[in-house]
Symmetry: C2
Subunit: 335 residues, 2 copies
Amino acid sequence: MKLTIKDIARIANVSPTTVSRVMNGKTEYVTQETQERVLKVIEETNYQPNQIARSLVTRETRTIGLVLPDIRNPFFTELSRGIEDYANQLGYFVILCNTDHKSEKEIQYISLLKDKYIDGLIVVSSLENPISHIKKITTENTPIVLIDHKANDEEINCVYFNNYQGGYLATKHLIDLGHKNIGCITGPLHVQSAVERFNGYKDALRDNNISFKDEFIFQGNYRYEDGIESAKYYKSIGVTSIFASNDLMALGANQKLAELGVKIPEDISIVGLDNITPIGISDSFLTTINQPFYEMGKTACSLLLDQLKGLIQTNKNIQFDATLVLGKSTAHPKK
Amino acid sequence: MKLTIKDIARIANVSPTTVSRVMNGKTEYVTQETQERVLKVIEETNYQPNQIARSLVTRETRTIGLVLPDIRNPFFTELSRGIEDYANQLGYFVILCNTDHKSEKEIQYISLLKDKYIDGLIVVSSLENPISHIKKITTENTPIVLIDHKANDEEINCVYFNNYQGGYLATKHLIDLGHKNIGCITGPLHVQSAVERFNGYKDALRDNNISFKDEFIFQGNYRYEDGIESAKYYKSIGVTSIFASNDLMALGANQKLAELGVKIPEDISIVGLDNITPIGISDSFLTTINQPFYEMGKTACSLLLDQLKGLIQTNKNIQFDATLVLGKSTAHPKK
DNA sequence: CTGTTAGCGCGTTCAA
DNA sequence: TTGAACGCGCTAACAG
């Protein structure tokens, strides 16, 4: 049979309250003596308080919910470790929910997790209008952090990556190497991040007096296969370099181009974006733009816990910078 | 302010007990009429019962703990999705804890999660003697499933992969292709799975009258880098094929051998084990042995939940079979 | 400094 | 068929 606070109290010859006080460090009003006596009993009996009962009265579960599309996606794996490491360090547990990019699943999970079960919520949303949706199903007082989304004003806490800067830096790198014919594999252009990356590409060209050419654009969908598909096209039109809007497509293009006998980077330079480090690819092969997933997760979690503890009141928008990671997939164009 | 069962009772003009009965489907003794009235109020007020309070009396949290070394490892990512999909489908949440292969962290997590917070536990242990350790910190009645471990008798529920068969099949495949000089990159031989895979290799040779040669063995540590390191050695001693005890090492060896000008599979065939499908590697390149991570997770979870619900009493050991997955990294040896 | 009382929000007797 | 009373194990308010 499990021991309760009453048992400990009886054995230590004190009241349950005193035991509670000792456990919770409210030791200011407890004699050194009784304190030691209680601690000894707790130690000896290996007593652990019932968290459920405790939560019922304190109204905190020390558990946060993490809702994301799919943990198998390397971004989210890394992100989740950032979140979990931070949370666990502060004594919080993390409940993980995969939505598979489905709105119904996302809404259902959030609704289930809601304010009764968790202290806070971190969401990588797949909804069209996440803020209004999520605010509808959660209550005022549930702290929330949105990842990969940017809010207006201080509606909600947001942590996101500067996608525009990512596209800009990637393209600028190619320009700096001397490239003028620069292809761009875009992401799905109904998605914000893809548009921003694309805008970065366009502005980098403009700022360096290189004219934008429609035929250099290949619309992809962020998938490895899109990179594969683009390869034949780019080989045929003769660009000297390619900016792929994410690493998956960059690697796909690289793979297929190599198969087609195109030398990377001698014939065509490739730069990606995200800096996922897939197993089995020699490190530092791909030149890319780093997106600090782990750090973003950590920051999201710290933002959440700070709010939870009342350390901050206002919501924040925190943007993470893009940085260039040099690899072996880019070089000067051939003369 | 949050609504409680009392509020609903008052609004519907019944007692809290009746509301409780309606919510829990104990409707046998409730008039159709009152039932509808209560349901209507619940609907209108969007009332959701407090799970904490409920858990305090029912003694179930509908939450399970998942303790594993590192979610970033593709095996565990896949495994966790198998577990989560199954759990969520049945209305359970999953709390994820990464131990980074550290015994202290593992013990600490399990101890924290313990029987008060969760209904059951799934563990991929890094402990030397997981069963005795884990049984010590958990109580009798906490259902537990161990993954990647095999128990004697019915001490505990276990789900594991037939590593021996994996090593055997991989080696047999090379033999069937006509190879006689077959290298083996082993895993860390203080780990059970590595020993079993190695034994599979040895027995496959023996059963086919190929003598075991010490110089064909390269001891690795399951890391990509070990594969890289082994390449030079294998090139120098002139094997025609290599069985790598996991895919990571297989891919490492492949990478380095290619750089050294060795053609795969013409000069050297490579077969791996695990069937992880790393992003950026063309699908089906590597010939390997499939380990069904997702299925194993699902099975582990179903085992746990069955036990939770009292559907099964005895503990089970469930073994998963190895299957060959043909890729492009193996071929007949040159004459 | 310590203990008594009350109550968190539910499910579960037991009596009506 | 319904409801009043009790208790799950704990913390908080108030006395002493």
